[in-house]
């Protein structure tokens, strides 16, 4: 599935919820289901510090696809992360770089990327694209 199609699917899933609490219940559930990052990847290098909570992001390139793994100490942030991974992980660098993550706005979660949320999520999103750019550049050199 393309990143676009996955986003559409997420938007459809959220369309079922007509209230705020159910939406968050779903995000929390996704957060709890996302496997924790093993300690070897929870390094200072992989850490994206937020004022309130932290995010750890690890990326690897395999068979031309970038795979992301991530974790957070906040379960809601973890739920949001799991959606970002679902959309962006296991795609080519080009797909990741060009993706427009409109689903965040469509499901009403834009405020979590705002400066005041200070949860490292916005930095994580940027970092995911940086990884894709770096892998693309590396592939072009070798």
């Amino acid at each position: 599935m393309s990143t676009e199609e996955i986003q559409q699917k997420i938007i459809e899933e959220f369309a079922y919820f007509d209230n705020w609490a159910d939406k968050y219940e779903y995000i929390i559930e996704m957060g709890k289901k996302l496997p924790s990052l093993s300690d070897e990847f929870k390094t200072e290098d992989n850490k994206i510090k937020g004022c309130q909570s932290n995010v750890w992001l690890h990326a690897i390139m395999q068979n031309g696809l970038v795979e992301f793994k991530a974790d957070s100490d906040s379960v809601i942030v973890k739920g949001l992360i799991s959606m970002l991974i679902r959309v962006l992980s296991l795609h080519t660098p080009d797909e990741i770089i060009s993706s427009d993550l409109m689903f965040i706005d469509k499901i009403g979660m834009t405020q979590h990327l705002a400066q005041t949320r200070s949860n490292g999520l916005l930095s994580m999103l940027k970092q995911m694209k940086f990884y894709a750019m770096a892998y693309k550049a590396k592939a072009q050199i070798t």
Partner: protein
């Protein structure tokens, strides 16, 4: 000029709430419950009106113009200074300096008094529970001068270890800078004893009154502190205005902090002479409107009576604390014998940020995180807390809403 409020004989919370227009709104479809008063308090109409009356009626630059508006603005601005003087029981209006807030006041003292008086090897004492704004200016000063920063330890309840403080004091101690009431824990520190002990070794003392000024009666002469500072916005006043009180003889000996207009007596390219106190420390056009409105805030709080309000706030705190303690896995952070209406806590297995997001969905505003006291959080072995801070305008029923919402959130997160 200032809207009159009928005097309250007893605490009539419903009446008081009417003075705060912002409280009458819904957040996410729910009635707003504002429990973030330690970050900033909401403003009564009297304060809001004072600001618009100034801009609508007599906006002018102060201390210079000869025209009617300038004179009116100057006298309103100086009326605030006189009100603050009485409010803090300072000896003279020259001891009242307007700043942007506590942070700027501390920086002023560190840069002016500190750089003028601190030498290599001197010591400055703060406590573990200081806000970053009462840590970083002293660290910068120590780094520049080769001085040493000493930190008073605290116990598990969040109280200063007084005996340890006494051990830190010596003839090398030059400045003691202490928070009166902890923003993260609510602890009321024994500042009078702290000041006396510091004076015995010849050190000057600055009291950070950011949290104490709205809750406790402040008498700087009785405390005998050398500096006292507070921010208007934590006292039902506007943001961007604060006060630095300093003893006149100490302020007189201090060099100016910033150069510019207002703080000068005469300027030529070879020599500038400085203005008298308090203007020596007030360079540039000040925040006139908000300073004028600070008087409205102080008049408002004085009319209600801080000590009467404290009784009510303490009842709220006791009720909230008892309700919080019913929650499984909840641990209070800050259990000092003497504390103001701040309830800080952590819950096993629940991240404070997640709690804040879910509470916000219910229209409940609390503060979470490290509260700009990272060293204190490290001492307590936690990353942050959830903090509910009350003011006089709160109701018991709002605490019930908060507790219900909290229980709901915990159930979702665990």
């Amino acid at each position: 000029m200032i809207t009159e409020t009928a005097p309250y004989t007893t605490i009539d919370i419903d009446q008081i709430r009417l003075d705060f227009p912002i409280l009458n709104q819904k957040v996410n479809g729910k009635q707003l419950v504002y429990f973030d008063n330690a970050a900033t308090t909401q403003k009564p109409s009297q304060v809001i009106d004072a600001i618009s009356e100034y801009y609508e009626g007599y906006n002018a630059n102060i201390h210079r113009g000869i025209h009617h508006l300038a004179e009116k603005a100057t006298s309103a601005y100086e009326a605030t200074r006189a009100t603050v003087k009485t409010f803090l029981n300072a000896k003279s209006i020259e001891e009242i300096i307007f700043t942007r807030g506590v942070t700027e006041s501390i920086n002023l003292v560190a840069n002016s008094y500190g750089r003028h008086n601190i030498r290599s090897g001197d010591e400055i004492i703060i406590s573990t529970m200081e806000h970053h704004s009462n840590i970083v200016p002293w660290q910068m000063l120590c780094e520049e001068k080769g001085a040493i920063l000493k930190v008073i330890p605290i116990n598990e309840q969040g109280e200063i270890l007084f005996d340890e403080y006494l051990k830190l004091l010596s003839s090398r101690t030059k400045i003691v800078s202490i928070v009166y009431v902890s923003n993260a824990l609510g602890t009321i520190n024994p500042v009078k004893d702290i000041i006396e002990a510091a004076h015995n070794v010849g050190a000057v003392v600055l009291i950070d009154g950011a949290q104490s000024t709205s809750h406790l009666d402040i008498d700087v002469q009785d405390l005998d502190c050398d500096f006292y500072t507070f921010s208007a916005h934590k006292l039902y006043g506007p943001t961007g205005v604060g006060v630095l009180y300093g003893k006149k003889n100490i302020l007189n000996d201090m060099p100016p902090y910033q150069g510019g207009g207002e703080m000068i007596k005469e300027v030529s390219f070879t020599k500038t002479t400085y203005n008298e106190l308090p203007y020596k420390f007030e360079a540039g056009t000040p925040n006139i409107a908000d300073t004028i409105a600070l008087k409205a805030a102080i008049d408002y709080i004085s009319k209600l009576g801080k000590s009467t309000l404290a009784v009510y706030e303490n009842e709220l705190l006791a009720y909230c604390t008892s309700q919080l303690l019913e929650i499984n896995g909840l641990r209070l952070i800050g259990e000092a014998d003497q504390k103001v209406s701040i309830a800080s806590f952590v819950i096993d297995g629940v991240h404070h940020q997640d709690l804040a997001i879910l509470l916000d969905g219910d229209g409940v505003a609390v503060r979470t995180g490290h509260h700009c006291t990272q060293p204190l959080m490290a001492r307590m072995g936690i990353l942050g807390t959830t903090r509910a801070s009350f003011s006089k305008k709160k109701k018991k029923s709002e605490i019930d809403l908060f507790i219900n919402s909290l229980n709901k959130a915990i159930k979702m997160l665990k």
